[in-house]
Structures are given as structure tokens and as C-alpha cells.
Symmetry: C2
């Protein structure tokens, strides 16, 4: 007889941690650092602060690795600390706004990994802006019940008026195998965030990236869902929460991005709905029809890109220049586009020569919401595009010193897994990436032609 069981989300991700990137002792070190650094950067950028991030790695006796990340970001309230660090699927990034974090899972995976390899809780120290106190807690996770266990909580006066967060954990991991990837990850983070101060110290690791720009990209704003991306469940829930006298027109204008009364009425007319009908009186069949019609209607305004925060061509080119030191670099920030109601912007840079290593294929640097992606390029949409481009058309002959940098920003990057390593080949996204790469490559071709002519002129 089959024995049934309910798993809590913490049990589920504990048992299936490899799916979140914690697949072996080296990868676990890499993923732990990533989750902490990405949280630290979000904590600054999402709040208009220039990031200050400091990573420290220390090897302890018998294979333990102590990982500490400090930031001067927005900080976290002591009321939220236990759940934010000790309850899986808890977070502040479930809103429609571009950020690195999206799942409410990242730091908890690192806390779980520390707990299962060393039994040690995470140490969190934080103070929010203008706060009089600094709070420090040791937090573990009750895996069966998905609840935080606060093992210690201390408060001290915030004499220096510091704000930010320090997160420290001890895991068992393979630093020697992870070191190279961590270094690459930090370098690429500096490439995509030239306005950030990022320091990384550890055994055979000393990286100091001082910001080369004090210009922070625009802070993304929280947005409303776009009508193109609705589904029956979302509609049903929004209708349930709606005022019981709301008309369909009011419902549409209040809940969706870029829908004004005129567009709402135009839609209702096209879809065959009465704009004045009380939205709470719709049957489930009518809600289903409404969802289908909203997805199909061609008259919606394009999704607002105010929820996004692209780097812009200047910053992207600057970051690539600083880190790769090429002879030539060009960047493009494509116009906003969208898929399934989610706005996105593709940014591409192409760099050539100089400090770029010689290679038989283009060196692809992939980014999504400013996160460097180092694994699984075999199933990534950018790699798919790069592989099918005939580079000879752009005067590139291999082996060559060619680097392609792709950056996808979206309120929902179509990641292939919770480990955030590869981006799925959504058609709208794929065509924007191709357009961006070709646009930059045409400029590269002009540069290479000019260089060719210069070479010939010198012969004479």
C-alpha cells in the first residue's frame, strides 16, 4: 500500500538542492557566494544606493569554508530577518520589478547547505537607514516545518550610523575547485556593474574593483501586470479581491499596466463584453473568455519599461572596457520589447582585440538582470544565437579575439531552472538578442575594414 506524505517547501529544496545549484562541494561554494552577493547588490541598487560589497572567504580546519558578505545596502528589519533567512519561499522580490532575486529561495539554500554540512546557523547582522540600533541574529531552519529557529539575537547601539547587512555562514565545500569560477563571477559582476565597489578576499583571491562611474542606472519601479500576460487564475484572484461594485472597465484600468478608460472600453467592445458589467458577477466561463480575449487583443499599450533598469550603452561599454581591455568595443541597448506581458530589454556589447584571449569561437559572456551566468551555456538562448551567426560576414576569422556580451533585463527572465544559469529560448527574446548582436557586429565590421585599410596604407 502506498504511503502518502506532504513535504514542506524547505524539505523539498533540501532533498533536491542540486536543482538549485548545490550539486557538489565545489559548486556549493560558488552558489553560496552568488546568492549572498546577488542579495547584497539588490539591496543597494533597488533603493538607489551605490553598491559597496565585500566578500571574505576563509578556510577553516577539516574542509570547512567560512563565507562572509557585507554590504552597505538598505538593510533588513529585525522583524523580517528570521523569515527572510529562515523560511523558504519568503522574500520581498515577488513584485513586478527587475531585480536579481526572484524566487525567495536563494539565501535559504545557502543556510540549508551550511546546516546540512556543518550544523551551523547563519549569522546575520543588519541595520536599516537612520536606525539607532544594529541587530545580530543566528538563524537556523526547521526543515520539516519550514520555520526559522532564532538561536541568538543581540542588539547594539548604531554609533557609526551604519546601514547595511553582513551575512556569514560556514559550509563544507571545495574551495580549490570553486576559486576559479568565483573569481570569474566577481570579475563579470564588476563588468556589468561598473558603478559598484566590489572587493573579494580569500585564499589565492584578491580582487578590488573600484567603481569607474558614480552614475547608477535608474531605479526600477514596481509595476502592474500587463493584460497580455493574464491567465484564468490571476483574473479569478484579482476579481475576488476587487471592490464588489467595480465595473469591468474600472477593474481593467485599476489592475493592469497601461490600461486607461478609453483602451478599456475599446477592448470591451472588441471582446463583446459590457464595460459596465459588475466584474464580480462574471461566471468562470466568462472569466476564461475574458482571459483569452485579453491575451489576444492587439490594442493594448506596450508594457512600460519603467519596471526595468537597463545599463545603457555607455555604462555597458565602460564595464566591458575596464574588465576585458579590448582594442575595440561597441554596445547597444535595444528598444523595450515584451513576451507574455513581461517587458524586457536586451543589451549587447561586442569587443575585439587587446586583452581578449585568442579563441576558435567567440567568447560569450551572458548576463540576466545583471547576474553573470557561467554554467549551462549549452542550453542558453544567447549561445544558440551566437552559434548560428556566420562571423565571416562581419570580417571575423577564427581563431580570433572576439567577445560577445549579452544582457537580458526583464521583470521575468525566463530562466531554465531555480539555479539561474541559463535563459530559455523564448522567440521574442531570441530575435532581440540576434538583432542586438548583428547591430554591434556591423559596427565591428566597419572597424575591421578601417583597420584593414590602415594596414594597407602603411605598406605604401
Amino acid at each position: 500500500m502506498e504511503r502518502f506524505r506532504q513535504l514542506s517547501p524547505s524539505e523539498f529544496f533540501y532533498r533536491n538542492r542540486e536543482i538549485a545549484g548545490f550539486s557538489n562541494p565545489a559548486r556549493a561554494v560558488y552558489q553560496t557566494i552568488r546568492e549572498l552577493v546577488e542579495n547584497a547588490l539588490d539591496a543597494a541598487e533597488t533603493h538607489g544606493l551605490l553598491p559597496e560589497v565585500r566578500l571574505n572567504v576563509e578556510l577553516e580546519a577539516d574542509g570547512k569554508v567560512r563565507i562572509r558578505v557585507e554590504d552597505e545596502g538598505v538593510g533588513i528589519s529585525p522583524l523580517e530577518m528570521p523569515n527572510a533567512f529562515g523560511r523558504v519561499l519568503y522574500g520581498s522580490k515577488y513584485v513586478l520589478r527587475q531585480s536579481r532575486g526572484v524566487f525567495g529561495l536563494g539565501v535559504k539554500m545557502a543556510v540549508l547547505y551550511a546546516q546540512l554540512t556543518t550544523g551551523q546557523p547563519v549569522k546575520v547582522r543588519s541595520s536599516v537607514r537612520r536606525a539607532s540600533f544594529v541587530y545580530e541574529a543566528e538563524i537556523a531552519i526547521d526543515v520539516e516545518r519550514n520555520l526559522p529557529i532564532v538561536k541568538r539575537l543581540e542588539v547594539e547601539r548604531n554609533e557609526s550610523r551604519w546601514h547595511g547587512t553582513v551575512v556569514e555562514l560556514v559550509i563544507r565545500g571545495d574551495w580549490s575547485q570553486a576559486r576559479g569560477r568565483v573569481e570569474e563571477y566577481i570579475k563579470r559582476t564588476a563588468m556589468i556593474a561598473p558603478y559598484a565597489n566590489i572587493f573579494a578576499y580569500g585564499p589565492q583571491l584578491l580582487l578590488e574593483f573600484n567603481r569607474s562611474s558614480t552614475k547608477l542606472p535608474p531605479t526600477p519601479a514596481v509595476g502592474k501586470p500587463h493584460p497580455r500576460g493574464v491567465d484564468v487564475e490571476l483574473l479569478r484572484k484579482l476579481i475576488e479581491e476587487a471592490n464588489k461594485n467595480s465595473t469591468l472597465e474600472e477593474f481593467l484600468t485599476e489592475n493592469f499596466d497601461g490600461v486607461g478608460p478609453i483602451t478599456a472600453r475599446k477592448f470591451c467592445e472588441w471582446a463583446g463584453f459590457d464595460a459596465n458589467k459588475k466584474v464580480r458577477s462574471l461566471t468562470i466561463d466568462e472569466i476564461e473568455t475574458l482571459a483569452v480575449k485579453m491575451q489576444a487583443f492587439e490594442g493594448w499599450r506596450r508594457p512600460k519599461p519603467s519596471t526595468l533598469s537597463p545599463l545603457g550603452e555607455e555604462l555597458l561599454a565602460k564595464g566591458v572596457k575596464e574588465v576585458l581591455k579590448p582594442d575595440f568595443v561597441t554596445a547597444v541597448s535595444r528598444p523595450p520589447s515584451s513576451y507574455a506581458g513581461h517587458p524586457f530589454i536586451v543589451e549587447v556589447a561586442v569587443a575585439y582585440g587587446g586583452g581578449i584571449p585568442l579563441s576558435e569561437e567567440p567568447l560569450l559572456y551572458r548576463f540576466a538582470n545583471r547576474i553573470p551566468l557561467l554554467y549551462d551555456e549549452g542550453v542558453d538562448v544567447s549561445m544558440k544565437v551566437v552559434k548560428r551567426i556566420d562571423w565571416s560576414v562581419y570580417k571575423v576569422k577564427f581563431p580570433s579575439q572576439l567577445a560577445v556580451v549579452t544582457h537580458v533585463c526583464s521583470t521575468k527572465v525566463p530562466f531554465k531552472g531555480v539555479g539561474k544559469e541559463a535563459v530559455a529560448d523564448v522567440p521574442e527574446l531570441e530575435s532581440e538578442i540576434e538583432a542586438g548582436i548583428r547591430e554591434c557586429s556591423r559596427r565591428l565590421r566597419s572597424y575591421l575594414s578601417r583597420m584593414e585599410k590602415l594596414m594597407e596604407a602603411r605598406k605604401w
Copy 2:
């Protein structure tokens, strides 16, 4: 100010359904069918029953697709039906035993998809063996609270003494784009399960695979964890549940696979623990040391393969022959191995000529726990091995009619994602796959040499 929120597991997987394979309307049809068919096959095989599985697909008005899967498996009790179909992370396959299902998520993803595209609940009809009644329910999911909503429940007398389950859902999906993949999936399922009756009917779909063998592979047994795979959290929890007078020796022999009193005492001596110490008196530091020592000890017995159910060379070769109709086929079932305490067996078949299409590369058919894997071969361990083999060593010249079939059985297949499409390159697994492929390829080489000689002989 950041607004924090807790997501239920159903909300999480609803929002991130692409990560579970529901990434677009065509893929959703494929994944829905997969989840239902895999459950139907488990329901028979895990209970020593020969599978009878019938898939029906019907297109309805305005883009809806009705999917129905019927089986004559073990059935499901009406007490478990609501949670099994309406509560995410609920299932009967969280035990250490080979099965297709592992996450307690599959059918709920399909139910969620139906709910969000058509608002319609799943219809489940089931009867367990020797039951007097057949139960039929319509179940939806309360997404916010992760609870089932039973919309209808009917009972009728089980006149025909039928046992099994019927699952029916209506989703919005792209059947024309999915059809080809579904057909391939069903064919490959028949290849790996030649003892099953599998019928699939739908628009441009008519497949009837009658079993070519009545020999069912051994039913896997539920096992205990292997000491090699422990972690601090697992030990802490097992110790908490242990009898308060249990000694360390008793604790080890009662909770772990293949640990008898002699091995337990040998381990304690090697690790520097007192075998008679009350296990509940261990401190967290001692538990951590215990975990590290248990992972490192070389004296454990190999994991028992009784939790596995390999096809065996005869059945595998038979299945490949039936479906691919090659001139030559050979199969090998490697001896049991393990990684991180999880036993696994790799089975490989290599087929040549006959009905196999001509191709520039080997055609790779991947399976894990008898599930055909059709996507993401770019990050799959079997593809990684196949790509690095120099096939000319085995007398294969491309283009060629060569098929390689790999089957990984384990209590925990290292899938790269909850969508179960690719297997990660765990070193022990990778080397077994390579050994299996080379073993079969050597036999292929002998065959090709014999054919070569025959050809030459004919010339004379």
C-alpha cells in the same frame, strides 16, 4: 520600504511553471501527457502489475485540448485523491525506491495549467484492487493556500471489479506543435517498457503497442539510506526520532542500508566513537563529525540494488529491436554502482543499420528510470559522453545508421531540473555510461568486421 511575502508551494510553482516544463502552449501539452502517463506506468510497475495505459487526446472548440489517461494500475484511495491531485508537494514516491515520480509535483502542475488556462478542474476516477466502489471526483487547487478544492464527488458500485485510475483535464495548448514530440515520447516509452500495453489516440495520432513480453522487471523494494549519503540534517532528524536508549551501534544498524553490528562497531572504532554511547547524547559538533566520518569511511557495504529495477539486457534489446528495427542490436546492464550513497545501474544498447535513419552523428535515445528524455540534450551527461567518443575506433563512419540508447536507474537520478529532461554529469555516473557505451561498441565493431569479411568473401 521592502514588502515581504510568503509564497505557498502552489503559488511558487504556478508563478514559475516554465521551470517544471510548462513553458509554452506546445510544451505544456507534452508535459501534461508525460506527467499523466508516467504516473500511470508507476501505478502498475511499482506494484508488480503489467501496465495497461490508454491516452486519448481530443481537440475542442477554440484551442482547447482534452487529455485523458486511463490505467489499470493500483488505483488511489478516495481519502488520498484530493491531496494527491490538489496539493503541491504531496505524493507517495518520497521513499528510497526507483520510480518515475519523485517530486510529488507532476500531476499538480498539469492541474494548475488546466486551471489557469481554462478554469476547469481535473476529473479523477479510481478504484483500488478488490474494491466494491469506484470514486469519481473533480478537484481544483486553492493556489494561495495549497489545498485541494473538491468540486464534486460521486461513488458507484464497482460491478466489473475494475481497478485503476482515469485522469482527465482540459487545457489550452498547441496540439499541432506538440503532436510529433508526443508520438516520439510514446514510441520511446514502448521501447523501454516492452512488457506494457500502451495505446495513444488523437488527431493524427494512432499508436498501439502491444506487449512483446509478459516478463515484468523485478519490483523495486523500499530501502534505507546508505551511510555514505548522510548529512548533518538527516542525522539530527534520525537521532531525534531514535529511541532514547539507542546506542550508536543500534542507531547505525537500524537506520542504514547494509550496516550490521560488526560493520557498525568497525566504523565506530575507526571513527573514534564509543559504539555504546547513547546516540541522543551526541552534541551537534559530534553529529557533524559523525556525518563527515560516515561519508569518509571506506568499509561500508555497497548500496543494495534491491531498490532498483533495471530492465536487463534481454528486455532492453527486445524493446530497441521492436521500435527501431535495426540489423544489429546489443545491450549491456552494468553492475550496480553508487554516488553519494544512492545506488544506480546504467544500461546501454547500441543498434545499427536496418530501420535506423542515416545521420551525421549517433542518434541518442536517453532514458532515466524508464522515462524518455527528449529535451535539453545539450546539458545531458549521456550526450557529453557520446560526443567525446571517437567512433572510428569502432569502425563507424559517418553518415551512419547508429543509435545509442542509455538508461540510468537510481533511487535518485541527478536530474538537472524539476521538468526531468536532462541528467547531470555526476562523475561516477559518467564513467559508468562511458563503460557501457564502449562495451556495446566493441561488440558492434566485431559485427561490422564480420560484415566486412562477408562482403569481401562475396566479391570472390
